[in-house]
């Protein structure tokens, strides 16, 4: 319980190709196909961004903190922390688009979708075995593993 897999990054391996961004957007599109996704009326957007700082590249998406500031800050109670899944769950139907989660996130990992007025965040690709970004990474810089397993490495 509470020990689901999380996304980790080996920043030494990240070359900043942003393939994870593309894979993320495609995974959250209707067609789930790159070429077709670009023809969709509402363009899917990546929930992950690769940011560069001091010569290194950092893929950034929701860390699914155990003590999530965003959940506390959410006035509409659209955000809840699911302990079993070790994941912050976003109920888009309740979200009012106040951007408080965007502001309080210590990682800057929540992305405001200005068109839909709803923030975008990593959902670990919900029902998939692993998030799409993991398979998309050509250098294996994205690691999907339990926290305990990572500690053993």
């Amino acid at each position: 319980m509470g020990n689901a897999k999380q996304l980790y990054y080996d920043v030494e391996k990240c070359l900043g190709c942003r393939s994870c961004e593309i894979a993320c957007a495609v995974a959250h599109s209707i067609s789930r196909d790159l070429f077709k996704a670009l023809q969709e009326e509402a363009l899917s957007l990546p929930r992950k961004r690769v940011l560069g700082a001091s010569g290194k590249n950092y893929p950034v998406s929701c860390r699914h903190c155990k003590d999530p500031k965003c959940v506390d800050a959410c006035m509409a109670q659209a955000l809840v922390y699911d302990k079993e899944k070790s994941q912050v769950i976003h109920d888009e139907t309740r979200c009012v688009g106040c951007w408080m989660c965007v502001m309080v996130c210590p990682y800057g990992a929540i992305r405001p979708n200005k068109k839909t007025k709803i923030p975008l965040r990593c959902d670990k690709c919900k029902d998939k075995d692993e998030p799409a970004c993991v398979a998309a990474c050509p250098t294996g810089a994205i690691i999907y593993i339990e926290e305990e397993e990572l500690a053993k490495k």
């Binding site: 961004e21 593309i22 790159l34 363009l43 957007l45 990546p46 398979a135 998309a136």
Partner: protein
């Protein structure tokens, strides 16, 4: 086997691929897997590496960077990337044309029956074609043949360096088409010039208008189709012989267990032509027998194969994706390569066997690989040297590792624009009339050019053959070149008997009347120029409109991979032929404007457009819908035997 069955529909390929798996030898299919995931920015054409302020990428999902450091947007970046590929493809074909245009100056005699099979030099094999070509260039044809050849060679070479005016071959196009080119200012002036100018326009800070980039790209592509490629085809016919229908065999089964197997691979046939002759050299055959072989067996891969098949009926070992597999049979003594489509991986694969990889062209070398430089003046000696190396290598073959698949198929090749004349009209009333009348009456629904490469992203040979079967079933006569022709040949579509099994009633009647296959093999990829000239003859004959874009015809490249395919696509579209690409589309989808321009608006500009389609039956539907649209525009009756 279940895994290899998903890779190719060709049984020989499946078998040898399994052998590769068992022996742990990596092929293109494995390397494709290793390359996953492939970069989405590259796939969409929105990665720019033109200048050192980059590399820059445009965010295809709209919120990230929409312009590069210089300010170029997705339209400019995708268009520049695309037309650069046109320049490279045109360079490949045209440089090939240049080499053979040089070779024609070397001929010093005309072929006679007495010299047949004994000559070690290039000869004028088709005097009529030489004279016809000379007349086009205003060369005096009353002088001795070799003088005509030399003067024509000079005129042809001058086409490459020409600075202005129009390429002479563009005069072969119908008047109306030439007027369109003139109006758009895309009539090619010089073969080399168009490549250089196109590349210039794509450097940092020159052309930023994607429509203008495409126009410059089309002019360059036309300098290939109605220039470099046409030079290559015509000159090769003159010095190597104009093809005539000929039977041959195809697939890896043509390799012979008890013979010295020499595989020629690449695109320029001037040396492999001599290899054909040298393989029949009594001295070399004797040497081969002294080493315990039954003889010398020559086979080809890719377009070099198509060239020697078309003219001599030399067996084809396979198409592009089978180059590694030929070596993996363990039975190839020498693979002799010239230029284009030669996988760098061959060196590694060859090192797993006794096979000697031999490069022959200074433009295409591998580090550490034996190089025997081809010089046209000593072509025969060079060919002999290479074959001798193969014979010497025969004893090093590890018999335990030899496994040649049994699969081979008959085919008929050797169709040209001249032969289509003769077959349909008869030698003494050579005319396109019967072909035109067949289309007008609706016995033939129309024509389709199905060309291009293989690509491991597709199930090998599947798209080509499924598409072609559907087209002929619906009374469309299919013209093929390159690896696409080899794919269909392997599935038995290039024999006259295929008409009965696969063709619609109308096409069957024609095939039965004149004894041709429902799918005609026109040669190598430079021989796509034959399709252009054949189409021009159709217009001249009359009854099917005034422009190439009026003909009920469509083109496609189902399993394409090469830059050359893009260039061919562009010269077809710029010539008025609706053209569809399979496998994956051009890397332009990152620019909605450019994609829209290519797939829609271009029709209003040059009378034809591109389409992209990833399903063979759907592609056939698109082509047939286009053919029917053109039939309707010409006020022709619907196809005679087709209800749909």
């Amino acid at each position: 086997m279940s895994d290899v069955k998903n890779k190719s529909i060709d049984l020989a390929t499946q078998e040898v691929l399994q052998k590769a798996r068992d022996e742990n030898i990596k092929t293109a299919w494995d390397r494709l897997e290793q390359q996953q995931p492939q970069c989405g920015f590259g796939e969409l054409g929105v990665c720019c590496t033109v200048c050192n302020m980059g590399p820059c990428r445009i965010d295809p999902f709209g919120e990230g960077a929409q312009v590069g450091v210089c300010g170029a947007n997705a339209d400019t970046i995708a268009a520049r990337n695309l037309v650069r590929k046109i320049a490279v493809g045109a360079s490949a074909h045209s440089d090939h044309g240049r080499d053979v245009a040089h070779a024609i100056a070397l001929v010093n005699k005309t072929h006679s029956p007495a010299s047949a099979g004994h000559s070690h030099d290039y000869e004028i094999m088709d005097v009529e074609k030489l004279k016809a070509l000379a007349r086009e260039f205003n060369v005096d044809t009353a002088q001795p043949d070799e003088k005509i050849a030399r003067e024509t060679s000079q005129k042809l070479l001058a086409e490459f360096g020409r600075q202005d005016g129009e390429l002479v071959f563009t005069k072969r196009a119908p008047k109306k088409r030439r007027e369109i080119w003139k109006k758009l200012n895309i009539i090619p002036r010089g073969i080399d010039r168009e490549v250089v100018e196109l590349l210039h326009t794509t450097t940092m800070g020159v052309d930023n208008d994607y429509k203008n980039l495409i126009a410059t790209g089309m002019r360059c592509a036309l300098s290939d189709g109605w220039g470099g490629s046409m030079v290559a085809t015509d000159v090769q016919d003159i010095i190597l012989g104009s093809p005539e229908p000929i039977r041959g065999k195809v697939n890896l089964g043509v390799l012979k267990e008890n013979c010295v197997n020499i595989v020629v691979h690449g695109h320029e046939p001037v040396l492999s032509e001599m290899a054909v002759r040298a393989s029949q050299d009594p001295e070399l055959i004797k040497l081969a027998k002294s080493k315990g072989a039954e003889g010398i067996n020559l086979a080809g891969i890719c377009c070099t194969a198509n060239e020697v098949l078309m003219r001599h009926g030399i067996a084809v070992a396979g198409n592009f994706l089978q180059q590694e597999l030929a070596i993996i049979t363990g039975a190839v003594e020498v693979m002799m390569v010239d230029v284009q489509c030669i996988m760098p991986a061959l060196q590694e694969v060859a090192s797993c066997y006794h096979t000697k990889l031999i490069t022959t062209n200074s433009k295409a070398r591998f580090p550490g690989v034996i190089h025997v430089e081809f010089r046209p003046e000593q072509a025969y000696e060079t060919a002999k040297e290479i074959i001798r190396a193969g014979i010497e290598n025969f004893s090093l073959r590890d018999k335990a590792r030899v496994n040649i698949p049994k699969h081979e198929m008959d085919l008929v090749a050797g169709f040209t624009k001249e032969v289509i004349f003769q077959i349909l009209g008869g030698r003494y009333r050579a005319t396109y009339k019967p072909l035109n009348e067949a289309i007008i009456s609706g016995r033939l629904r129309g024509l389709a050019g199905v060309v291009g490469c293989c690509n491991p992203k597709q199930v090998h040979d599947y798209f080509h053959t499924t598409l072609v079967k559907e087209l002929i079933k619906r009374d469309v006569l299919v013209l093929q070149t390159g690896c696409s022709a080899i794919a269909c040949a392997k599935q038995g579509l290039l024999v006259p008997e295929a008409a009965k099994e696969y063709a619609g009633k109308g096409l069957q009647e024609i095939c039965a009347a004149v004894g041709i296959p429902p799918v005609l093999h026109l040669g190598s990829c430079v021989d796509n120029s034959r399709i252009l000239t054949a189409a021009s003859h159709i217009i001249t004959e009359g009854g099917l409109g005034e422009d190439l874009s009026d003909i009920p015809a469509a083109g496609c490249a189902p399993e394409w991979m090469s830059e050359k395919a893009i260039t061919i696509g562009f010269y077809f579209v710029a010539s008025g032929v609706y053209t569809i690409f399979g496998a994956s589309p051009f890397a332009t989808l990152g620019s909605r404007n450019l994609t829209n321009y290519l797939t829609r608006e271009l029709e209003g500009v040059v009378g034809a457009r591109f389409d992209f389609c990833d399903d063979p039956i759907k592609m056939a539907e698109l082509m047939i819908a286009h053919i029917d649209k053109k039939r309707k525009a010409l006020h022709l009756k619907p196809a005679m035997y087709q209800e749909d």
